[in-house]
């Protein structure tokens, strides 16, 4: 049937029940609460699956305690949900493990990520934990761009990279922490060697 021939029916708009927008309540690990729309939550695969599994109604959302997100603080979660609300309804890239080489950072995202590197680190961590593919893409791209044209010495400072010696010392410390007796045995062995004994026994 063509569009011109389609039957025209007058509709009383007031009679149509308006579907109430569904919101969910989340709580950060520092007890800050956020109300986030259902559509925005779809940007996070982790949260989307969580709310689907919970099967909350609007009444449940109001009556039950907010959903706790234990690993993320309020400051970071605020940025995450701001991003999700701004990008709600947008297509979600398929997470097939591939990495887009060209990632455009939209103006809104650039402003949102105009934060110190400590908070940017937490934002990437949260995007990874909550599986928000596009937020992870843009935030990673911002940090990847920080490497452009830098020397190894500059990169060490920007990314706080330990030197080989520091890595070695950390490895030794971790081994010792795992087995505190190891150092004592080593010292005892060295002491015996100094005293001229070849055998430990």
């Amino acid at each position: 049937m063509s569009v011109e021939n389609a039957p025209v029916v007058d509709v009383d708009e007031a009679a149509i029940p308006v579907e109430k927008k569904m919101y969910y309540r989340f709580e950060s690990n520092d007890k800050k609460e956020f109300r986030v729309s259902e559509l925005a939550i779809q940007q996070s695969e982790t949260l989307n699956r969580l709310v689907e599994a919970m099967g909350y109604t609007s009444e449940d959302v109001e009556n039950k305690p907010a959903i706790a997100i234990e690993n993320i603080d309020g400051k970071t979660l605020k940025l995450v949900f701001q991003w999700c609300e701004h990008h709600k309804g947008e297509a979600i890239p398929v997470d097939d493990g591939s990495v887009p080489k060209i990632v455009e950072i939209p103006e809104f995202d650039a402003k949102l990520m105009d934060i110190d590197n400590g908070l940017l680190f937490k934002l990437i961590w949260a995007a990874d934990y909550l599986n928000i593919v596009q937020l992870l893409n843009v935030s990673c791209k911002k940090v990847a761009n920080m490497a452009q044209g830098k020397t190894p010495a500059q990169l060490r400072r920007v990314y706080l990279l330990p030197s080989d010696e520091e890595d070695e010392a950390a490895k030794r410390a971790a081994q010792e922490a795992q087995d505190p007796r190891a150092r004592e045995v080593e010292e005892e062995f060295e002491e015996r060697k100094r005293q001229g004994g070849n055998s430990f026994f």
């Binding site: 080489k101 680190f121 990673c140 990847a144 490497a147 400072r157 706080l160 330990p162 030197s163 080989d164």
Partner: protein, 191 residues
């Protein structure tokens, strides 16, 4: 802003996020990152970025080691002689050019897997034994030997353990008869 907050703790990111972030870097920046520590070189290698080809050129007019990529235009190149450098080219100075070449090519090959092409002029090189004793330089896709007369000693240094996969070009005459055994090996193995 506190000093701590200006820095980004790359190595403390979860592995998926860290690898995604590093894969978004240009290859030349990954190369720079690999020079920061053994751990960072290992992280870059773990990204499994394929090189289209590695080139070693040691001739009278040019001394360079380079790595070329399909997905990104240009190459990362280390050169051993002064002159104007283009983008992504580095100048380095080794007292022993053969050892330097081997060290740089080994590092490139460690980071970015790909076939190696070699063009050398043995008559201008003194430490071929040292260079071709490195396992990473004992297998290549193509090899071209150019320049003036190559001594059998030089050829022995090159071909003692060499495996060439596709093409071998030997332009200069040798002062003695020299049998390139690996070519016979190759012919036999391919029937």
């Amino acid at each position: 802003m506190a000093e701590e907050n200006r820095k980004f703790k790359l190595i403390q990111l979860p592995i998926v996020a860290r690898q995604k972030l590093m894969k978004m870097m240009d290859n030349v920046d990954l190369f720079e990152l690999s020079l920061c520590s053994i751990r960072m070189a290992r992280y870059v290698r773990a990204l499994r970025i394929e090189a289209e080809r590695h080139n070693i050129t040691l001739t009278k007019g040019q001394s360079s080691v380079s790595v070329h990529f399909r997905k990104q235009p240009g190459a990362i190149c280390e050169r051993y002689r002064n002159g104007p450098l283009s983008l992504n080219e580095y100048y380095c100075d080794y007292a022993n050019i053969e050892a330097g070449t081997a060290a740089v090519s080994k590092h490139f090959q460690y980071l970015f897997n790909g076939p190696l092409n070699i063009v050398i002029c043995p008559s201008i090189l003194r430490n071929l034994d040292e260079m071709f004793s490195e396992p990473e330089l004992q297998k290549c896709q193509t090899m071209e030997i150019c320049g003036s007369e190559a001594t059998s000693k030089a050829l022995r240094s090159i071909f003692r353990n060499m495996r060439i996969e596709k093409k071998l070009v030997v332009r200069p005459r040798t002062n003695q008869d020299y049998v390139i055994e690996q070519v016979w090996w190759k012919s036999k193995s391919t029937g």
